[in-house]
């Protein structure tokens, strides 16, 4: 464990190992095969012959223990939320989440439903958002390539390691199971949604004045 303990002040061995890990992880993303709703059809299509996930090293695993990416393909209902979170908690670290489709981003068509969560973000730390209802297979491929870029740029050693807890949102309404030391904050702590890099919003009718190189 000497190498990992040394990670606060990274030396040659640590950084080389880190580079190797990032290279390997970004080229063998294995999503967990957890179909929820309509988007899982397009997820299957992307795995089939015409679009072919396998050429990017993306292979579906049925067990969350073998997976490191979770694609959330559909609306998360109140009854499904503990299950989704449990699957996420069963995955080995480091792990990433893709919110596929409008329902997983914000609730989509069912945003005003009494039983649908307003997006996967409320219970999982989402890394990539893919809009569409459902997104085309090309869009899913593009999202996975963006995630590949993100993984290859993210160091997972030492203090830069991403916190892997799950926020306990509204525990009295949705009883969520918390498993493992990184899953939840300590008792009494308040979870604050981490700030995210979001693209600049161009106001309507003011497209000329917006900075060009931002998008």
């Amino acid at each position: 464990m000497g190498v990992v303990d040394d990670a606060e002040q990274p030396g040659f061995i640590t950084t080389t190992l880190d580079k190797l890990l990032r290279w390997g992880r970004s080229r063998s993303m294995w999503p967990v095969n957890a179909g929820i709703a309509c988007c899982s059809l397009e997820m299957m299509t992307t795995g089939a012959a015409r679009y072919d996930f396998d050429r990017f090293g993306i292979m579906f695993r049925s067990s969350p223990r073998q997976a490191d990416v979770m694609i959330v393909p559909g609306p998360i209902t109140k009854k499904m939320a503990p299950i989704v979170q449990r699957v996420y908690n069963q995955m080995a670290e480091p792990r990433w989440v893709i919110a596929m489709g409008s329902c997983a981003i914000s609730g989509g068509t069912f945003v005003d439903s009494y039983n649908v969560l307003p997006g996967a973000e409320t219970i999982l730390p989402v890394d990539i958002y893919i809009p569409g209802c459902p997104p085309r297979p090309e869009a899913l491929l593009y999202g996975c390539l963006q995630l590949k870029k993100l993984i290859s740029e993210t160091s997972t050693i030492g203090s830069s390691r991403k916190p892997m807890y799950v926020p306990p949102v509204l525990p009295e309404e949705w009883p969520l199971e918390l498993l493992g030391e990184y899953d939840a904050l300590e008792a009494g702590a308040v979870w604050v949604q981490p700030e995210r890099d979001s693209p600049p919003v161009t106001p309507l009718g003011d497209a000329e004045s917006a900075p060009e190189d931002e998008l």
Partner: protein, 376 residues
């Protein structure tokens, strides 16, 4: 839950509870099956549903009549056109809207093509459940992608078409596209289906997994409320397209695909025969397609008279019933779906006991579930 004798198997001492799902590659979505097993034998089974309940029936009451077509797409996301058509037929009958002749033919065409893609998804799913992890799945997707290209060219979307409107359809299909569809369905597609059939029914492993597994008589299935190909595989000729013709089915020459054996392999044969029959029907529809308008004039603020209407259609999974009730406003008073898979699934506690655990997924694949329509 149905009360079965706890000691269903001779010589058993104690049983174990096994949960299959909701996250399981073989449950076709988010079904949760609680199985009480004694060794390898199922003593009782109980499906737990509701993991995908999005409240579609309630949401429909807060949207206008036209906007609800978007929600019907998402009911059974494997057979979208069937749901749209059932809803549109109900509202049209309630409001007294005349649908142009060409629109009826176009609707029937797309619904029959939808039956093909839906059965192809069943084909991919059932083979994956019994252990063929790659080949049949990728084969089925070849023909499915070709048909999805047509969907995309006609409706603009691949999975969620939202193509039918009250009083017709949104876009017409031009003759060049119809010819392309006809060429594919008449020339290329039967060759593909031959290959699929040889791969499934001709396979020795598939036969040994499916032959004689889950044999039910037509009387049993009718008693349990099972409809669709699962019922027709037991010898019943119940098919709403023949019994209560709607659309242009009364002007088409087709046969109801049945089988007498009633086991899991018979259900496979019936579905594969239905794929061929649907392709034949599509060719007939394209040949007999009349000209004219595709959409009647319907007010956006449609206010059907007070009353309620229930229609039945034959969806790829069975009898799909839709009830709409109006109180004379622009929004439905009640929208209710009689989902075929819900009734097929509720026969599972009767079907599964005294079968092996490995046969559960074979029987389960035989009724072809889609959780979106069960949970709504």
């Amino acid at each position: 839950m149905v009360n079965f004798p706890r000691k269903g198997v001779e010589g058993s001492t104690e049983t174990m509870l096994l949960n299959v799902g909701p996250q399981h590659p073989s449950t076709h979505g988010v079904l949760h099956m609680m199985c009480e097993i004694s060794g390898e034998t199922i003593v009782s089974a109980k499906p737990v549903i509701g993991y995908l309940h999005r409240g579609i029936e309630k949401l429909a009451e807060s949207r206008t009549w036209q906007q609800d077509i978007v929600l019907t797409d998402r009911l059974d996301y494997v057979a979208q056109f069937s749901n749209e058509w059932a809803y549109c037929r109900a509202v049209e009958r309630l409001a007294g809207i005349e649908v142009p002749e060409r629109a009826e033919w176009l609707r029937t065409l797309l619904v029959e093509m939808n039956r093909i893609t839906s059965h192809l998804i069943w084909y991919a799913g059932v083979t994956m459940d019994i252990g063929a992890l790659g080949t049949p799945f990728i084969y089925a997707w070849v023909a499915r992608e070709r048909i999805f290209d047509f969907y995309e060219a006609v409706t603009g979307a691949r999975v969620m078409p939202n193509w039918m409107r009250l009083g017709g359809v949104h876009t017409d299909i031009d003759s060049a596209m119809l010819k392309e569809m006809r060429d594919f369905l008449e020339r290329d597609f039967p060759v593909e289906v031959d290959e699929y059939e040889a791969l499934l029914v001709g396979n020795e492993i598939v036969q040994s997994r499916m032959k004689g597994i889950g044999v039910f008589s037509a009387e049993q299935l009718v008693e349990w409320g099972v409809t669709g190909p699962a019922l027709r595989a037991s010898g019943s000729e119940r098919d709403l397209r023949k019994d209560v013709p709607y659309g242009v089915y009364d002007r088409l020459d087709f046969r109801v695909c049945t089988d007498d054996v009633g086991d899991s392999l018979a259900r496979c044969r019936v579905r594969l025969a239905e794929i061929r029959e649907s392709a034949r029907m599509c060719v007939q529809i394209i040949d007999g397609m009349p000209g004219g308008d595709v959409r009647a004039k319907v007010s956006r603020a449609l206010k059907p008279p007070v009353g309620d209407v229930c229609v039945r259609t034959e969806s790829p999974r069975g009898e799909l019933g839709v009830l709409v009730a109006s109180d004379g406003t622009t929004k439905p008073l009640r929208f209710r779906v009689r989902s075929p898979i819900f009734y097929n699934l509720s026969a599972m506690p009767h079907m599964l006991p005294n079968h092996l655990l490995a046969d559960m997924l074979v029987i389960f694949g035989g009724i072809d579930t889609s959780m979106g329509e069960i949970d709504r």
